[in-house]
């Protein structure tokens, strides 16, 4: 039972990060290869706080979320202001992630590449609570005026700009929100596994996050979140096939792009499906 609980908790933590990326990639239409970096920032900020200064977990979680959100401005302000091509932006944010990893590996406060052993503070209550809170906040946020503006930008940036939407500010807002969610996920992850290492937050993780969002469907919250759960829980059940997990992700991305680019629930939410049946 303990094992199953752990798997479910891990899946919930991942769902929060995927939710973050879904806001950015699914709703604002920008492609990121570096969101694991924000998870890493959240994990390390909270981890360092609880490890060195015994900060209560609530404050560590808040600090991790805030740090990830703020750090997204560092990369977001220059790149989004320059309105880079979407693939240039993806590479720029990948570079940000790599630079961050090198920094984490060489700082003494993070204990370098050997990793940081933090205490196990985030119980199921924290994780499920944060997940529900993030789902609610994200849903309402995307239903607000901002959500509509994001979708307008995704569908046609030029037309959106002509209609008077400030592309730079909206994209930056979207990036900050998604990074903050990833940061919260990181803080929970660190205090769930009780051990963090810089290599946990590299391109492989970014790819997994992206694969979940694409497979779940662009423009949907419930799709990516469901897929994130499956993607975390399924490999755990098929431990013996662990080596083939990443090839399968890769293949899945290609197949989805060829046969079903809208993903599992593209532009729809889970409740919509039930409504249609009635």
């Amino acid at each position: 039972m303990d094992y199953e609980l752990n798997v479910v908790m891990l899946a919930c933590v991942n769902m929060i990060a995927v939710l973050g990326l879904a806001v950015f990639t699914g709703f604002t239409g920008l492609f990121s290869l570096g969101h694991a970096a924000f998870v890493g920032i959240g994990a390390y900020t909270s981890g360092v706080l609880t490890y060195h200064w015994d900060v209560p977990f609530f404050f560590a979680l808040t600090a991790g979320t805030a740090a990830a959100g703020l750090s997204s401005l560092v990369i977001g302000i220059p790149t989004l202001r320059a309105k880079l091509r979407s693939d240039y932006f993806a590479i720029a944010i990948l570079g940000f992630g790599e630079a961050l990893r090198v920094c984490l590996e060489n700082l003494s406060v993070t204990n370098g590449a050997r990793g940081l052993s933090v205490s196990e503070l985030s119980g199921p209550g924290w994780i499920v609570g944060t997940l529900i809170l993030s789902l609610l906040v994200t849903r309402n946020f995307l239903k607000s005026r901002f959500g509509a503006l994001f979708v307008a930008i995704r569908e046609d940036p030029t037309a959106a700009e002509m209609a008077g939407i400030d592309l730079f500010r909206m994209r930056l807002l979207s990036l900050a929100v998604s990074a903050a969610l990833c940061g919260a996920s990181g803080a929970l992850l660190a205090h769930r596994l009780a051990f963090i290492q810089p290599v946990m937050f590299t391109l492989t993780q970014s790819t997994q996050l992206l694969a979940s969002v694409i497979a779940g469907g662009i423009g949907s919250i419930s799709g990516p979140v469901i897929v994130a759960f499956v993607f975390t829980a399924l490999p755990e059940m098929l431990r013996s096939l662990d080596m083939w997990r990443l090839p399968a992700y890769g293949l899945l991305l290609v197949l989805i792009m060829i046969f079903r680019p809208q993903g599992l629930l593209g532009y729809r939410e889970l409740p919509d499906l039930f409504r249609r049946r009635q």
Binding site: L33, R85, S86, A92, G95, G250, L252, L253, V254, I258
Partner: protein, 288 residues
Amino acid sequence: MQTLVTGLSVGGIYSLMAVGYSLIFSILSFSNFAHGAVIMLGAYIGLALATRLHWGLGLVVAGSVVGAGIISVFNERVAYAALRRRRAPSLFLMISAMGCSVFLENTVYATIGSRFFAFPEFFRREVVSLWGSSLSLLDLFAFTVSVGAIFALHLFITKTKTGIAIRAGVNDMTMCSLMGVNTDRLISIVFFLAGAFAGVAGVFLGIKYLVYPTMGWVTNKAYIAAVIGGLGSLPGALAGGLILGVLETLVSTYLSSVLRDVFSFTMLIALLIWLPNGLMGRETEEKI
């Protein structure tokens, strides 16, 4: 001086890889993230030919060129052709490319394993001295071949009929196909060329360092090199590779080798912001 020579020899290989990126970018305007995986497979093919069949260097390079070229064409047929025909946005092509890269890299990881392999020694560990600085035979050879190959490609693109068709395709694919060019074949040729360059780069990287599943990672550097020179420009790719090689060597010699990669990525971001078309790139229209 020594730094400059070392930098140029690394830069030569960066250029080889950057050319592949640039070629594909120029014709399909998306960044082929699977290029690194093709380079890695090229290195493995070269390695198999060298260790199992005991072929000489020339044959190994030739075999790897053909092998990587075919893989690259196959990759295009499977993963991009359907999207291309549907005129899917370049974001989809990029995701597909990312998927290919993850798939190929980790399949090698799962089948061949994460072991590091070394090529047999093709070059005596002899150094040539050049203007008072030393240079290994391998570096000299790799540099000469790189520059030679890029020059040959330049001739091919500018002087032959197929080359003219490629340049026409770069300019306007629809127009090009209306003029009676078989664009599917044209794109296959471009992917074969890119794969061929990836094969050469893979073998040289493998000889200079080692062969392992994630060696394609170095292509991030090549990507930076291609961006410096301007994506889609061949002379730009050559220049970008050499500039990046020299700058990186300077940073790791005089500052710190840890900072080298941070420096490259910072430079990339700075460059993308102030000079998004690179040194010799053409005006890019799509802006997000």
